[in-house]
């Protein structure tokens, strides 16, 4: 880094430093003249916005830690003391509380941007995976931070989430006691959560550094999804995007500040202002809003997963993999050469595919019947040959972690050559449905897990997984490949021409005489 050619600075002090440690040269290279696609829209603000929120969280967090006491006897009252007695303690705590929510808002929009414009695709796979790692770290940090005030939701949220690990076979109960440092969520748990809540943000900063480093190696994606081909496609980062980022940031911060000052508890839960009581469970345990979608997925698995379902799923997965996922195939047989296993001299596996598809449907059908309607006579009979493989509780945990795991491997699932949804009409619909699906999951995650809500959660969970495991592989093969503009520059000109044409048509329609 920085050992190459260096242009001297005019300012003597800067030059003195830079000739010894070229930080000014690096800053100028990476944030001054850095060539950036010229067609960013406001969705490209949210990385910078998330970064600013991260800084706010670290500053407010460290200040709060100067007044907070991580001991079950006094944790709750130390937070109340921050709210009432510490100078501006209320402000700093409300900034921290709402800052967490707004950081998640920024990150969710940032992730949506990546999804919609295909930013995760080659060569930015690692950049995307580092981003998903940041999301995971943020979730762990936010969860542990919510435990610290030691209110009812803190305690019971911690109890429910740590108990998830008891679902793991054999090692589960041991791991839970290891996490707790006891036989229930207690002082040992609170203490270590505080230590880790302080540590993880700095780990996150490290991963953010790698994320930004990787970004500066590949360069940014852009709304067209076309790589910049030359200077006509890019502009320097400063002043163009420093200004655009600042504009978006200010708008975002205004909304954040409105929440902090005028409705600081709107996103929280009143039960967390009741001190933790291990003997009384609140009627409704709900996580913070940003976890609701994942919580809904966790609770959607209310049925045991049995042998037939796993067998049917495995066959279906094989068919999807060989038929949709791999795109280049020899003509004579629709199976890729990699999986083209001849069973005997006469039969190739691909010729058995219709039979396999039928098998998968039958297995999944009977398996599903056993899982969803265990009281039916046929289910009881079939249940004998199809034992439960994954209990509902473990199934829920696997689904919840799997929902993030799928994001992690997304770059390797989606193999369509076009990035941006602007040139993928089918993908566009699917990904917007996924956003709607995420909102539905968030909404249903706050509802009690009974009646119609369970069905809605199950349907929404099904689409979430189908998007990654069925829809994307299908689009790999069947979505039409429209012709892309030759460059970003040409794309921008096309867009302008289109807009102009629309305006002209509109003007003409206003004056019917002129049109004739």
């Amino acid at each position: 880094m920085g050992s190459g050619e260096r242009k001297p600075f005019e300012n003597k002090t800067i030059e003195w430093i830079d000739s010894r440690l070229p930080i000014f040269t690096i800053m100028n290279k990476e944030y001054g003249v850095f060539p950036t696609p010229k067609n960013f829209n406001y969705f490209w603000n949210f990385g910078a916005i998330a970064m600013v929120m991260m800084v706010i969280m670290i500053i407010t967090g460290i200040t709060l830690a100067m007044h907070y006491a991580a001991n079950t006897e006094i944790a709750f009252s130390s937070v109340e003391r921050i709210m009432r007695d510490v100078n501006f303690g209320w402000l700093i705590r409300y900034m921290h509380m709402n800052g967490a929510s707004f950081m998640f808002i920024a990150i969710f929009i940032h992730i949506f941007r990546g999804l919609y414009y295909g930013s995760y695709k080659q060569p930015r796979e690692l950049l995307w995976m580092l981003g998903v790692t940041i999301l995971l770290l943020m979730m762990a940090t936010a969860f542990m931070g919510y435990v610290l005030p030691w209110g009812q939701m803190s305690f019971w949220g911690a109890t429910v989430i740590t108990n998830l690990f008891s679902a793991l076979p054999l090692i589960g109960p041991g791991i839970v006691e290891w996490l707790w440092g006891g036989f229930a969520v207690d002082n040992a748990t609170l203490n270590r959560f505080f230590a880790l809540h302080y540590l993880l943000p700095f780990v996150t900063v490290g991963v953010i550094f790698l994320h930004v480093w990787a970004l500066h190696v590949t360069g940014s994606n852009n709304p067209s999804g076309i790589e910049p081909k030359g200077p006509q496609d890019t502009i320097p980062f400063h002043p163009y995007y420093t200004m655009k980022d600042t504009a978006g940031l200010l708008l975002f911060l205004i909304i954040y500040v409105v929440f902090t000052f005028f409705m600081p508890n709107a996103l929280g839960h009143p039960d967390n202002y009741i001190e933790a009581d291990p003997l009384v469970t609140p009627a409704h345990i709900v996580p913070e809003w940003y976890f609701l979608a994942f919580y809904a997925i966790l609770r959607a698995i209310t049925f045991d997963i049995n042998l037939l379902m796993i067998a049917g799923g495995a066959i279906a997965a094989y068919l999807v993999a060989v038929n949709l996922w791999y795109m280049e195939k020899p003509k004579h047989c629709p199976v890729s050469t990699k999986f083209n296993v001849p069973i005997s001299k006469d039969i190739e596996l691909c010729k058995l595919e219709p039979l396999m598809a039928a098998c998968a449907v039958v297995l999944l059908g009977i398996g599903g019947l056993i899982a969803f309607m265990p009281d039916l006579g046929i289910s009881k009979m079939a249940g004998v040959v199809s034992p439960v493989m994954i209990e509902a509780k473990l199934g829920g945990v696997l689904a919840m972690f799997g929902s993030i795991g799928l994001l992690f491997v997304l770059p390797f699932i989606d193999r369509h050559p076009h990035r941006s949804a602007r040139f993928r009409p089918w993908f566009k619909i699917a990904v917007l449905l996924l956003v709607l699906d995420f909102f539905i999951l968030t909404w249903v995650g706050a509802k009690p897990a009974e009646g119609i809500y369970v069905l809605i959660a199950q349907a929404a969970t099904a689409y979430y997984f189908a998007f990654f495991l069925v829809v994307l592989p299908f689009l790999n093969k069947y979505e039409p490949r429209v012709e892309l503009p030759p460059s970003i520059h040409q794309y921008v000109l096309d867009q302008k021409a289109k807009k102009k044409k629309k305006q002209d048509e509109y003007m003409n329609s206003l004056t019917p005489g002129a049109a004739e």
């Binding site: 019971w156 109890t159 429910v160 740590t162 108990n163 998830l164 006691e177 290891w178 996490l179 707790w180 440092g181 006891g182 036989f183 229930a184 207690d186 040992a188 270590r192 291990p278 003997l279 009384v280 469970t281 009627a283 409704h284 345990i285 609770r299 209310t302 209990e391 509902a392 509780k393 897990a449 009974e450």
Partner: protein
Amino acid sequence: MTIDTDMSTNDNDKAGESRRDFLYLTAAAFGAVGAGSVAWPFIHQMNPAADTMALSTIEVDLTPIEEGQAITVMWQGKPVFIRHRTAKEIEEAQSVDVSSLRDSESDEDRAQKPEWLVMVGVCTHLGCIPLGQKGGDIKGDYDGWFCPCHGSHYDSSGRIRKGPAPTNLPVPPYEFVSDTRIKIG
């Protein structure tokens, strides 16, 4: 890889390589053992500490609990339910076909004396405290306990009957010190 046992006579390249390999492997093995033995204290420190492990046993006087009443006591940071069951509740608990239960366990195995049911009151699903201890509580469909978090129903023997919980409410180790006193732990 082969290890040449007669190292003193080796002067060809191959033997030299294998001796070097042996050194690498030994060093790596010692390094791994060393790293593991240093890592273990830092992993194990998170497990329950000695004072937590010291099974703080508690004694409970049962005399004030009338038939049909229940009390909750704390043991190891967890609530323990003690219910003085009515004849009807005992009858319900004992008449169930054990093989039809998700977690098959007979009432006789769970209650040392049928009128006293002692168990840890933590839902085996995700650790909430089931309702059913107080007179006015919802007791679920099986006259026992009901967990409000995710809707698990436990019967009058604390066995899971309906809902997501995988197992029965666990019975802690306890013994009758006298007819009216028990020692839990």
